[in-house]
Amino acid sequence: MTWVYALLALATVAIILGVLYRPFGDYMAWVYTSRKDWKVERGIYKIIGVDSKTEQTWQAYLRSVLAFSAIGLLIVYGLQRLQQWLPYSLGLEAPSEHLSFNTAASFVGNTNWQSYSPELTVGYTVQFAGLAVQNFVSAAVGIAVAIALVRGFAYRRSGTIGNFWVDLIRGTLRILLPIAVVGAIVLMIGGVIQNFNGFTSVTTITGATQTIPGGPTASQEVIKLLGTNGGGFFNANSSHPFENPTAWTNVFEVLLMLVIPFSLPRTFGRMVGDNRQGYAILSVMAILYVASFSILTALESAGMGTAPELAGGAMEGKEQRLGIIGSTLFTTTSTGTSTGAVAAMHDSYTGLGGMMPMLNMMLGEVTPGGVGSGIYAILILAVIAVFISGLLIGRTPEYLGKKIGPREIKLAALYILVMPTLVLAGTALSFAIPGVREEVENTSIWNPGIHGMSEVLYAFTSAANNNGSAFAGLTANTPWLNTTLGLAILLGRFVPIVFVLALAGSLAAQDKVPSTSGTLPTHRPMFIGLLTVVTILVTALTFFPVLALGPLAEGLM
């Protein structure tokens, strides 16, 4: 019966996304190609001092991305450090310097790793004026960078790749904000709270006292998911009944996370003038997503491990209303999209089950990946895939009519190297530096033994991939982890963006070469298979050794 229910849940999600794919993907393509500004947009450009008709070189585009993100970093850091003087701070003190840095990096970097428990750390003003704003704009930045790369493929002999400020404002006003307003209302109908009540207490029927939390939750919940951010209003994130009250809101939240990443291949196909290219990319994303969901559901339903077998199932850290399937559907989605929200505690998943969210992230967040970051990551892998096939048949590879020469492949290769370097170096240093190792083992790690190593590996995987989920037993609120994870987030976000935009610039400058009989068709099943294998191979070779030390060792013992 489990399989019938799993299949029905998956089919529900697939059908809704399938119906939305074309109209919504086309809509997003229109948003980023339309020549007309809305009236309100013209007003905004006037206020911020931008000429919307001028496109930028890739260097200027990059400078704008970095400047905008740096300002965001400063504001979120500042708001936290000034918390005790802000309204609605619920009497909370300012978080420490290293925690404030980590949180600021985390929300600006579209990661939403949380070293803190929100109920005990951040008041409402930091939540809505700092964190929620970054949930919108870091998502808009991600889509903007992706669109710039797509323009690289679409443009010919162009010195420019679009205007960042126009992409930022349009993505925010025409895509994110309207869906967020409708989505917040739907979530409130389901029971998600939206108030400024603070903590209130009630006397229960047994005469005890219970605290009921309040807060502007729905407005933040919707954008945390839609923007694939993931930062919970509450510590328990989307397993908190006030964030995710019932099984249908759970599916709605899954759809919010998936709708933009799964529709962007259509936007890509439309902008490069060949919708079949979009379907090919979509297929790779969907194949890996469905495989990951099936494996995780099978593992959690089987419930292997000492504690689950003793209890009679893997329900530790799972909510009754969501059950195993609701939990695994959410986990696959949130770690496959770089959201990192959780509706169940990944730390308490079975040994092998807990490896699946890690694998989703280690794939480089392409199943289907974060808003924007998913499609640019998979396009980089597509460049690698055509390069490999070019080597096999011995001719200069090309993708979508653009030659993949030494410069392009260098940029793609550098992109691929960033994330594994951060993950493996971060994890290794945490255990290699004597003083740090002591702190990590005595303070940070919650579960002893192999599982504790997995907690640290998970943390750096999550940070470097801008996911934000955790094996949450780990106490990350220490100077070492706050600082290094914060740096991993910033480097994991912005260094790849440098390479993506440089690649966009280099592609845009090229003319298109006409396709010949020797050109590898990149919309056929063969290429879909090739790209899927390349995606898995890059991950497997990089991460197998460390996975063998952690989850594989635990799950197979």
Binding site: A70, F199, T211, P241, T306, A307, M345, S348
Partner: protein
């Protein structure tokens, strides 16, 4: 100042203005609009789905689970019991949390063993009859629900403690059992607070 430095300075100034404007629109404006809609159109949900007793006093939220124990933390036999909770000292609405114990954690294994024995003894059933949700802590620590199976094994004990017919309690449990959403999403469940409140109101 050379041209490039001027370019960077100008970009930072644009970025600052853009961030300030977006903070006003997305941080303040959007939050207030959603709060307004919630408070006007959906006040019950927006304020936490609070439930009240017959006197109209709030006794909790239908979405947030509670402990039904005495001051020393011993389970009260006349109330259906919730799942174990890792939120604070148990069902602390100010500190949502799961246990985060891994599947091989010795403390978790010991806790499950102990809970199993306790639940079996408390309800007069064998350990094999104790369902999984009765011995595992939820993700939020605030799970308002238990499985119908866990409710079933508590019926005799509750009826006995209250001195009311078993059949009456059984009917009440049936009335408070919800199937999966839309018939196939999520699990069947029983809202513990609503069930216990209905039991109390039965006797008044």
């Amino acid at each position: 100042m050379n041209t490039q430095a001027r370019g960077v300075g100008r970009t930072i100034w644009v970025a600052t203005r853009a961030m300030a404007l977006l903070t006003l629109v997305l941080g303040v404006g959007y939050t207030l609009v959603i709060t307004g809609i919630g408070q006007v159109a959906l006040p019950a949900q927006a304020n936490g789905s609070i439930i009240t007793n017959q006197d109209g006093d709030p006794v909790g939220s239908s979405l947030i689970g509670q402990s039904f124990t005495d001051a020393d933390g011993n389970p009260l036999p006349e109330y259906f019991q919730s799942r174990p909770s890792a939120a604070g000292d148990g069902y602390d609405g100010g500190a949502s949390s799961g246990s985060n114990y891994g599947p091989e954690n010795e403390d978790l294994i010991a806790a499950i063993t102990e809970r199993k024995a306790q639940v079996a003894e408390f309800n007069g059933v064998t350990e094999a009859e104790v369902p999984v949700d009765a011995v595992t802590a939820s993700s939020s620590g605030l799970d308002p629900h238990i499985s119908p199976a866990y409710a079933q094994i508590q019926i005799d004990r509750v009826a006995d403690a209250r001195g009311i017919p078993v059949e009456q309690v059984r009917e009440l449990v049936a009335a408070h059992t919800q199937g999966p959403d839309a018939g196939y999403l999520g699990e069947s469940r029983v809202n513990v607070l609503e069930l216990n409140l209905a039991l109390d109101e039965l006797e008044d």
